[in-house]
Symmetry: C2
Subunit: 222 residues, 2 copies
């Protein structure tokens, strides 16, 4: 195996619960009454898909303009709820290890660029890190496009890539991209939920992944 592709929110930075509560509040403001535990399980999709899925949950088709407005409002509420973001345990060390060991790696996220930037700053990574975000592809997770775009930029084959993610959507998208998905518990899913979505392995957090990295058989890129 030659490369590691990371999800961002909930996998490297501790943001899933703030995203969940921000969506909960924004959707309720708009009269879309969906329970928080269901919203939690939609995080990892793009904001657009999440909004449509929430509408679907209560039997309402949302217009594109409404979807766009809700996403903007989510950005505002999210920033209020979580003024600063923290890397998950081991995330900074894991990225540093891969850099030092010259193992190809990148980030593929359903997030929007402005939000992604703040997370990357917290992770202390350089501008040379390969990052693919929502604006780079036509369709977000659970479509495989984000991971495939990242893999192309890393110049490796899909079957040589691990995808590291905290959400069922990461693991489902990894399978559709012919990659091996590795689950982390840091997003708040149960271990069994990740295993059922096809996780090749499940670790507690980036720190446990780093301490077990020999299990993954990663090779230095030429």
């Amino acid at each position: 195996m030659k490369a590691v592709i990371f999800d961002l929110d909930g996998t490297l930075v501790d943001t899933v619960y703030a995203h969940t509560l921000a969506w909960y509040r924004v959707l309720h403001e708009a009269g879309i009454h969906v329970e928080a535990w269901k919203i939690h399980r939609l995080i990892g999709m793009s904001g657009g898909l999440l909004t449509k899925a929430a509408g679907h949950e209560i039997g309402r088709d949302l217009a594109e303009t409404e979807v766009e407005q809700l996403q903007t409002r989510h950005g505002q509420v999210y920033a209020e709820l979580l003024p600063d973001r923290r890397p998950l345990p081991g995330a900074v060390d894991l990225l540093r290890y891969l850099r030092t060991a010259r193992i190809a790696h990148g980030i593929a996220t359903s997030g929007r660029r402005a939000d992604v930037k703040a997370s990357l700053a917290a992770l202390e990574v350089g501008d040379d890190l390969v990052v693919v975000d929502r604006s780079d592809v036509a369709r977000a997770k659970p479509e495989p496009d984000l991971f495939l775009a990242c893999q192309e930029r890393l110049k490796v084959g899909p079957e040589e890539c691990y995808v590291i993610g905290d959400a069922v959507w990461d693991l489902l998208a990894a399978r559709r991209a012919s990659m091996l998905g590795v689950g982390l518990l840091t997003g708040g899913y149960g271990e069994q939920e990740l295993a059922q979505a096809g996780a090749y392995r499940v670790y507690r957090d980036p720190a446990e992944l780093l301490s077990s990295i020999y299990q993954l058989g990663l090779r230095t890129s030429e």
Copy 2:
């Protein structure tokens, strides 16, 4: 079976995610850096136990005064994050059904009285409902005291009671009280986590429990 004892937060009202984020923020303010997914899995314990468990997680023993201050601060932040609370789907109907069918039932919660009051108002229950809260017992969940105190007030035997809860702590406390625990997914735990903690059955939410109530073999109280 003659009685149903309900947990409150995450079981009847949709408050777990706001509690999680409020604790996350309050603990981080105090320099206690615990990840949100771990805090999520501590919800359902009393605030005091949760605070101590969070301190333990980072290897710090917290003084009683600090624990008390953190709980007060949590109350403030929680109220800001979730100005109004919503019943979970089916919760109001389920309580109404039990009332109408004259099946003994009550609420046993690790919450504090002021917070509990606001939730009871949202659930449209009368003052005659048996409610046991943190101030009624010496030790909160996962100790069985809350459920045993509720069962005594309902005047039934422990082995005649179901406990309905969303958290692993409810199910563990139910077993220690010799009651049968029924899990709901509304608190955001995975089904397997609830089953592993000893759930006799797991339902999606109060609505699914109500539509399946014949499975529980409940009898009208004399």
